[in-house]
């Protein structure tokens, strides 16, 4: 009953505004609500990862040697390759948003597909070339951890385990975010191809983009912190 009443109140023509949820008065309000909402979600993500970066910093300062030695087990080449992959996926993501904004539906879906392929590539490098060899080298805390370097005491081995604990916790959490990102992109891409009502409006793709760039930013910090620890 009151829907009509509220709509007729203002002279703005909401009935003609497509894709406007009932609780909003106009598109500007709706757009900014979504953007600010997404950013406040990203704020929680920043602090979520931030707490892990804090743990990392505290222990790196305390045990520089363990971190230095631990990092020798990681290959900067894979890390760097993955950085390139993720940066490129961020580019394809903005291109998808751009296509959506300018009304190129199929193109937008294609760029989304490219983004998820790159994201999947990232995971392949991560799992097949990095995590699996770590398993073979007995570097998974608790599963089969064994620190080979003989000159190390047991305490030091614990600290190496700490380093790898942080490594797996942080890259693992990041990896989970990549998987979620692939899921989101797959759903949105399919909806675009089917010309679903919700994706006729570019906002969902823009929001997915914000999320994906955040995942990229996390990696921008993870890469130098884990793969590029200088010798003392």
């Amino acid at each position: 009953m009151s829907v009509e009443a509220a709509h007729s109140l203002h002279n703005e023509p909401h009935e003609h505004e497509e894709h406007l949820a009932h609780q909003f008065m106009n598109r500007e309000q709706q757009d900014e609500s979504y953007i600010v909402g997404m950013w406040s979600f990203l704020v929680t993500e920043i602090l979520f990862f931030g707490a892990l970066f804090l743990c990392y910093s505290i222990f790196r300062i305390q045990y520089p040697m363990a971190f230095q030695e631990g990092h020798e087990e990681l290959s900067w080449v894979y890390g760097c390759a993955n950085t390139v992959i993720l940066l490129t996926s961020s580019l394809t993501m903005v291109l998808s948003v751009h296509a959506a904004q300018t009304g190129k539906r199929i193109l937008s879906a294609m760029w989304l597909a490219a983004t998820s392929v790159l994201a999947a590539g990232f995971l392949v490098v991560k799992l097949a070339f990095e995590w699996y060899p770590k398993f073979q080298h007995h570097l998974i805390p608790g599963v089969n951890f064994h620190w080979p370097h003989e000159q190390f005491t047991e305490v030091a081995a614990g600290k190496a385990e700490l380093f790898f604990g942080l490594y797996f916790a942080m890259t693992g959490l990041h990896g989970i975010h990549v998987v979620i990102g692939i899921g989101i992109m797959a759903v949105l891409g399919t909806m675009l191809l089917l010309n679903h009502k919700s994706t006729q409006y570019y906002m969902p793709i823009e929001l997915a983009g914000l999320y994906w760039h955040f995942v990229d930013i996390v990696w921008i910090f993870l890469f130098p912190l884990f793969y590029l620890i200088g010798k003392r």
Binding site: E32, G50, L54, I58, K159, M203, F221, L228, G230
Partner: protein
């Protein structure tokens, strides 16, 4: 399928992308600078500075914050500001050794980490 959105020219995106790749090369380059030229803490500082610039590029252009409203600016900034509050926890670690007037707690910590 159109909106009132700010549509950034594609050229900007490509420029940012190239900049990001160049900064990536710089980060890796710093890693290979011999340590008698750039000591490890300085190398870490440079690497982090580069990472911050990269993140700022992504936030600013890919995430469109430079074109965003004040409110978007506010919420984009507040997470990073609060992260620095959380980093206040590190003050504990840098001053805990002073708990003992003679610094003995500090010595214990030192001797532990020198086991490595």
């Amino acid at each position: 399928m159109s909106g009132h959105a700010h549509v950034t020219p594609v050229k900007v995106y490509f420029t940012v992308y190239v900049l990001l790749l160049m900064l990536l090369v710089a980060t890796v380059g710093v890693y290979f600078i011999p340590h008698n030229i750039l000591n490890p803490p300085a190398a870490l500082a440079v690497a982090m500075a580069i990472a911050i610039v990269k993140a700022a590029l992504v936030v600013g252009f890919f995430m469109q914050v430079v074109y965003g409203s004040k409110l978007t600016w506010l919420w984009a900034a507040i997470g990073f500001v609060w992260l620095s509050l959380l980093a206040g926890i590190m003050i504990d670690y840098s001053t805990r050794h002073m708990n003992m007037p003679d610094g003995s707690a500090f010595d214990r910590m030192q001797s532990q980490s020198s086991v490595e």
